[in-house]
């Protein structure tokens, strides 16, 4: 950045990377926080016709403020449809009408399986009790593409999950198809260090790009398994000054989600 708002933060690079995963016309299952900002940005840039779906039972949301939760009243006012939660899952997800879903996680493994249930192997006596499944298993099972957004460190990027709440590529290879998972599986993982895809055959997570200023060594340090990296390794595209202004002045002016 030579002029204007200053260099992008890691959080802003994550939002921009997530924003590029949204295609125009997509039905997107949105969560709060960074995914919400990513979709709001996509709506204003390259995907003005994408449809925002919230598991609380809203289709076609057009929030006029930053939603505090996935059930914020601002998601209802001006939306195209409100429907019972059960129907949101039955028709939009299980019915195969969701193109893209965003997920977060406390732990992720090399096949994009997620843990949001417990830290510690003993389920009955967990070291940390996490929130649990919520809508994640069904988004991951049914959406045509899933993108995981998470901050990266060795406690998060683990060799073995303490609990598998949500299935990604299962044990890799064709194991996801073998359990009869209808959706397309995880397509990208976006962290504060880099962007990952999944190998078309082994389904193992592969580092595609590192964010500006991040080294491969740093990423390996923050990964609990022997990480595969693409060659050549790319650098994640950073948002330009106009996008940063949009993010900082319009979408998250109080820096609720973009502080880090």
């Amino acid at each position: 950045m030579t002029s204007g708002p200053g260099a992008p933060t890691r959080a802003e690079i994550m939002v921009f990377a997530a924003c590029r995963e949204v295609r125009d016309g997509d039905c997107v299952f949105v969560g709060v926080g960074l995914p919400n900002l990513a979709v709001q940005l996509a709506l204003r840039l390259h995907a003005p016709r994408c449809h925002l779906i919230y598991e609380s039972g809203v289709f076609g949301a057009r929030p006029v403020r930053l939603p505090i939760s996935i059930g914020d009243p601002c998601l209802v006012s001006g939306a195209a449809q409100v429907l019972p939660m059960a129907e949101t899952f039955l028709y939009f997800l299980q019915g195969g009408r969701t193109d893209l879903g965003f997920l977060g996680a406390a732990q992720i493994d090399r096949y994009g399986n997620l843990n949001t249930t417990v830290v510690g192997r003993d389920y009955d006596h967990p070291r940390v009790r996490l929130p649990g499944a919520g809508g994640a298993p069904d988004i991951a099972l049914n959406a045509h593409r899933t993108v995981v957004i998470a901050r990266q460190d060795r406690r998060k990027f683990v060799e073995r999950l303490d609990f598998r709440t949500t299935v990604g590529w299962a044990e890799g290879g064709t194991s996801r198809e073998a359990i009869g998972a209808p959706g397309g599986g995880p397509s990208r993982v976006i962290t504060d260090l880099g962007v990952y895809g999944f190998d078309a055959e082994t389904r193992e997570m592969t580092l595609e790009s590192v964010h500006p200023g991040v080294t491969l060594e740093q990423v390996r340090e923050a990964t609990g398994w022997d990480l595969k990296a693409g060659s050549p390794l790319g650098t994640t595209e950073a948002p330009d000054a106009a996008m940063l202004r949009l993010l900082r002045e319009e979408l998250d002016p109080d820096r609720i989600y973009l502080k880090g």
Binding site: I68, S69, M85, P126, P131, A133, R164, T165, G180
Partner: protein, 324 residues
């Protein structure tokens, strides 16, 4: 206030006779009559219409050994667990949405403090399907839900079934019939025909699934107001046992068109719930120390209530037609 229930002189609502009997009770009477120790009690409302007033009355009346059911146990469940009403929690996602953890629930699950708490967990979809099965009179509901996950390992109620037509293996959950459902809404008539706008969550499913139903509304309206707009009715009188009129009964959650979520209260809860002594003080001050919700409203004060009232955004009227 929304104008949906008001009549204007140019658009008169036809007079209809009032057919149903009044089920209007005070909160104290409704909880006393319909919630019993040991009951399975579902308190729904997905971020919207969370039955805080009813839950706090259950605490005040010191009900015990309840199995509490809710897609997203949040502040209210944290309070009910801390107050010792619950022996079990059946849920999909535990947390203070957009803020953090439920520390009272975590203390119970992680350390058995102040007492043990049994948990039974589902995905949101799984629990919704349990409500749907019960509401539909089916023993179970099929779904593609938790294959490939560890959830069936810790929850024996998650099973699989073969499709009799294709042979496909489907996941299955059993029907959940709560003893009591407590459902908040914008308005109902005295007989219990209940109207909701904004997020409808699982309100209709749990009302049809439960053996006893308490509806808590911002306003009780004449039956002809409901009959003027039947598409907005989510719950019919026939499944309702009690109607409680209690403005601000969902605070600090929100009621679409009436008040916004009091986010300051959600943020403050993060501090309160971390310290059992402070949580105890909160319950003494805001629950046990107050006789009813009217006292809670008064304590909340005009300033907070004014801050949370949204501006108007009215729906246009529709013409149902007069077919005489």
């Amino acid at each position: 206030m929304p104008a949906g229930g008001r009549r204007s002189d140019d658009n008169p609502v036809p007079e209809v006779p009032t057919l149903s009997e009044s089920k209007v009770l005070t909160m104290r009477e409704a909880v006393n009559r319909f919630v019993r120790d040991g009951d399975t009690v579902v308190l729904e409302g997905f971020t919207h219409l969370i039955p805080f007033a009813a839950g706090q009355e259950i605490i005040r009346q010191r009900r015990r050994d309840l199995a509490l059911v809710r897609l997203t146990p949040d502040l209210l469940m944290d309070q009910m667990v801390a107050a010792g009403t619950a022996r079990k929690l059946i849920f999909g996602w535990l947390g203070n949405p957009g803020v953090g953890s439920l520390h009272a629930v975590r203390r119970a699950v992680e350390r058995g403090y102040p007492g043990p708490l049994e948990i039974e967990e589902y995905s949101h979809f799984g629990l919704l399907c349990r409500y749907k099965a019960a509401a539909s009179g089916l023993p179970f509901f099929p779904l593609r839900g938790y294959r490939g996950t560890d959830l069936p390992r810790v929850n024996p109620h998650l099973k699989q079934v073969a499709c009799p037509f294709t042979g496909e293996t489907l996941d299955a959950v059993s029907a959940l019939h709560p003893d009591v459902a407590i459902v908040n809404a914008q308005r109902a008539d005295a007989g219990g025909n209940t109207q909701i706008w904004g997020l409808v969550g699982a309100q209709r499913e749990v009302a049809f699934a439960a053996r006893r139903v308490i509806v808590v509304v911002e306003e009780v309206v004449p039956e002809d107001v409901v009959r003027a707009d039947p598409n907005r009715t989510q719950i019919p009188s026939v499944v309702v046992d009690a109607v409680v009129e209690e403005p601000w009964s969902a605070h600090p959650s929100f009621v679409q068109g009436y008040y916004d979520r009091d986010n300051a209260a959600y943020l403050a809860w993060d501090r309160i719930t971390r310290d059992p002594a402070e949580l105890e003080r909160y319950l003494d001050e805001w629950v046990h120390g107050l006789p009813d919700r009217a006292a809670y409203r008064a304590r909340l004060g005009n300033e907070t209530r004014d801050r949370l009232r949204p501006g108007p955004r009215l729906a246009g009227p529709v013409d149902y037609g007069d077919y005489r």
